[in-house]
């Protein structure tokens, strides 16, 4: 009896030790399995969203990924060429790389040692990544390894007095960084959406240009008197600009020439939307800063419109 008891105890202890041991390989396998499950689940939800029935509610997200506490002030969003999401903190130059379909934080890296500024937007342009501060300082760097500090260069656009920036997107076919103003300081343009464009690799003569579009042309049937863009992205299917505004709780789609395609309210539940991105396979992502709830990224099915005009 005593022998059996000892054997049972030995087996129990061995099982608990191996079962509880959290080795790296075991963790990676679990994560992989979780990722596959989530990917399948997301595909099923997207398929359901593609064929809506009477019960389905398109204003509800197909997935919501809760951000970790260190990313509570998530600001801009950008997609990489391989479909990963770049997100960044509002105050610290720390970039988080996320797999949006599996809901997995892949890695994090900082610019240098992680300096502080009021970072507002991020975009990828080829192999380079650009991050914009609200005072118009543009930071250029490349993706780094997990936990690394990457070298960067800073370029002051000297637009801090004219504009408070909060959004930026890279338009690949024109090689422009498109940067709408959240608040334009020029009184003569107070009823316009002011958009600066900065050509990557351009000369001093043609590098910077400015476009202004009257708000009236962009608000559609809504009662918004102004627009304060929080982030802007490009729909890869049409090349249209898609802009969100936290202040107006608005989602606005514009042609390449800033003609209105649609202007509508954001789906409910977004307390402080700060970032937007659209994947090639039609998933709209909106990031929210932490307010009464933790920061998150919500995923919606995005139905693109037809392209309406060509680049000027």
């Amino acid at each position: 009896m005593r022998t059996w008891g000892a054997a049972a105890l030995f087996i129990g202890v061995t099982a608990v030790t191996f079962g509880c041991s959290d080795n790296t390989r075991g963790g990676a396998l679990q994560l992989k399995a979780l990722g596959r499950t989530r990917e399948r689940e997301l595909a099923a939800r997207l398929a359901k969203a593609d064929k809506p029935d009477k019960k389905s509610d398109e204003s509800k997200p197909v997935a919501v990924w809760i951000m970790p506490p260190e990313l509570r002030e998530i600001s801009g969003l950008a997609l990489t060429a391989d479909g990963r999401v770049l997100a960044h903190d509002d105050e610290v130059a720390k970039i988080y790389v996320i797999d949006p379909k599996r809901g997995i934080m892949l890695k994090q890296f900082t610019l240098g040692t992680g300096m502080r500024a009021d970072f507002e937007s991020i975009t990828e342009a080829g192999s380079d990544i650009y991050m914009l501060a609200s005072n118009g300082v543009l930071y250029q760097f490349q993706e780094g390894a997990d936990g690394s500090g990457v070298p960067y260069s800073a370029n002051d656009l000297h637009l801090g007095k004219e504009c408070e920036f909060e959004s930026m997107v890279y338009q690949a076919d024109s090689n422009w960084l498109v940067m709408p103003c959240k608040n334009a300081r020029d009184k003569t343009l107070e009823h316009n959406l002011v958009i600066y464009r900065w050509k990557i690799g351009g000369t001093a003569d043609n590098r910077l240009s400015m476009v202004s579009v009257p708000f009236a042309q962009l608000v559609g049937n809504n009662k918004w008197k102004s627009l304060h863009p929080s982030d802007i992205t490009i729909d890869p299917a049409t090349g249209n600009f898609v802009m969100i505004s936290s202040h107006e709780n608005a989602l606005i789609e514009m042609t390449r020439n800033f003609g209105l395609v649609r202007a509508e309210k954001l789906p409910p539940g977004h307390n402080q939307p700060e970032g937007v991105a659209i994947t090639k396979d039609g998933i709209l992502m909106i990031s929210d800063e932490a307010t009464r709830k933790p920061a998150d990224i919500s995923l919606y099915r995005w139905h693109p419109t037809q392209p309406t005009d060509t680049i000027q």
């Binding site: 030790t17 509880c20 041991s21 959290d22 080795n23 790296t24 963790g27 990676a28 994560l31 979780l34 990722g35 989530r38 997200p61 997935a63 919501v64 990924w65 809760i66 951000m67 970790p68 506490p69 260190e70 509570r72 720390k94 996320i98 809901g103 997995i104 934080m105 892949l106 890695k107 994090q108 900082t110 997990d146 936990g147 932490a290 709830k293 933790p294 998150d296 919500s298």
Partner: protein, 363 residues
């Protein structure tokens, strides 16, 4: 604690030198941490200052906001599900306890009998646990931090510590609790180690001592005494004695030392006596005769060591005794009471460690 003491004895070969015992303890702790980390690699995160850095490496699952599945990333507790939180909290609290134990030992060894406070010792153990718990709860939540400030503000307490050095110990316990609470047990461990060794070295070299003020050794007692020796060869700090004694006191002390030396016998031999009989009586001569009778029949050898005659309260007789092996303490005291019951007010026999151990093993 006897378990820990015997483990430390294995490392130190029974040495009672504080530095050796502390090194042995931390070595043992390090080995245990290493072993645990081998079996549970993720626990290394808890020891590696993750909380301070705020930069966890590797892939991590984000919480699914629709179903709540996957690894949670609560805004209150940081990454980790309920199980993770429970395990990490347990590790933090156990780690904190293990790091504060040597601090409390140093405190107990170092503080003088007069300045020693049991409540401070217990505070040193309990306070960091509470602080660590609070930090775990408050971490990353400004709202909780403010709530906590409100709650703590409502609970007022004020304690005046007699010695500023006690305050340093309390500060250390808060610091270790903080370090553990932000999942940086490694920082806490370094704090604990540095504090203890710096304290001992400060004591060893009497750092900052003014010759006109009492020496550290006259205020700090216990195992640290041996460290006060300049050469490290003497168990009693001669220079401190010379500086702190008057000639009269030195004579009395020399007399006492002589008596103790005689009682103990020569080196490398078993002590001649192993217990002290204390008898309180109002009739010194008659009680002495009665007690001597009992000693003659029950003790292998005995000697009247000292008679302290008091007025207004019973006088005290001290005997150095070595009982016969067949006689137990209780039997001996019973016989003393029956023989001299009417003459004495109390009798007690303090037996040395060796005899006590033998008694225990017999039982």
């Amino acid at each position: 604690m006897p378990v820990l003491a015997s483990v430390i004895d294995v490392f130190t070969r029974g040495s009672d030198r504080p530095v050796r015992r502390l090194v042995a303890y931390y070595l043992f702790l390090g080995l245990v941490a290493f072993g645990v980390a081998l079996v549970f690699p993720r626990l290394i995160e808890l020891l590696a200052g993750k909380g301070l850095e705020g930069m966890p490496g590797g892939e991590k699952a984000l919480q699914d906001g629709l179903t709540g599945g996957g690894s949670a990333a609560s805004s209150v507790f940081g990454p980790g599900g309920l199980g993770d939180i429970a395990i990490s909290t347990l590790v933090i609290l156990i780690g904190t306890l293990l790091l504060m134990l040597p601090v409390s030992w140093v405190y107990m060894s170092a503080r003088s009998v007069q300045g020693h406070s049991q409540s401070v010792v217990q505070t040193l153990i309990i306070l960091p646990l509470v602080v660590a718990g609070i930090i775990i709860i408050v971490q990353n939540s400004l709202a909780l931090a403010f709530s906590l400030a409100g709650v703590v503000g409502a609970v007022r307490f004020r304690t005046n510590l007699k010695d500023t050095r006690d305050l340093v110990f309390v500060f250390l316990s808060i610091a270790v609790g903080f370090a553990a609470g932000v999942q940086s047990i490694a920082v806490g461990a370094l704090l604990s180690m540095f504090f203890n060794f710096v304290l001992i070295l400060t004591w060893r070299y009497d750092y900052g001592r003014n010759l006109l003020t009492p020496t550290a050794s006259s205020q700090w007692t216990g195992p640290l005494q041996s460290l006060a020796s300049e050469t490290g060869q003497h168990d009693v700090p001669d220079r401190d004695l010379i500086l702190s004694l008057t000639p009269e006191n030195a004579d009395v002390l020399a007399h006492r030392f002589g008596r103790v030396s005689e009682a103990l016998g020569s080196k490398k031999k078993k002590p001649r006596f192993d217990s002290v009989l204390t008898v309180a009586t109002d009739e010194v001569t008659r009680a002495q005769d009665a007690v001597q009778k009992v000693l003659d029949s029950n003790a292998k050898r005995s000697k009247l060591d000292e008679v302290i005659v008091n007025t207004g309260k019973p006088s005290v007789l001290y005997y150095l005794v070595k009982l016969k092996k067949s006689v137990t303490r209780d039997e001996f005291l019973t016989e003393v009471q029956s023989e001299a019951g009417g003459l004495i007010t109390s009798a007690d026999l303090e037996i040395g460690e060796r005899i006590r151990e033998e008694d225990t093993s017999k039982a």
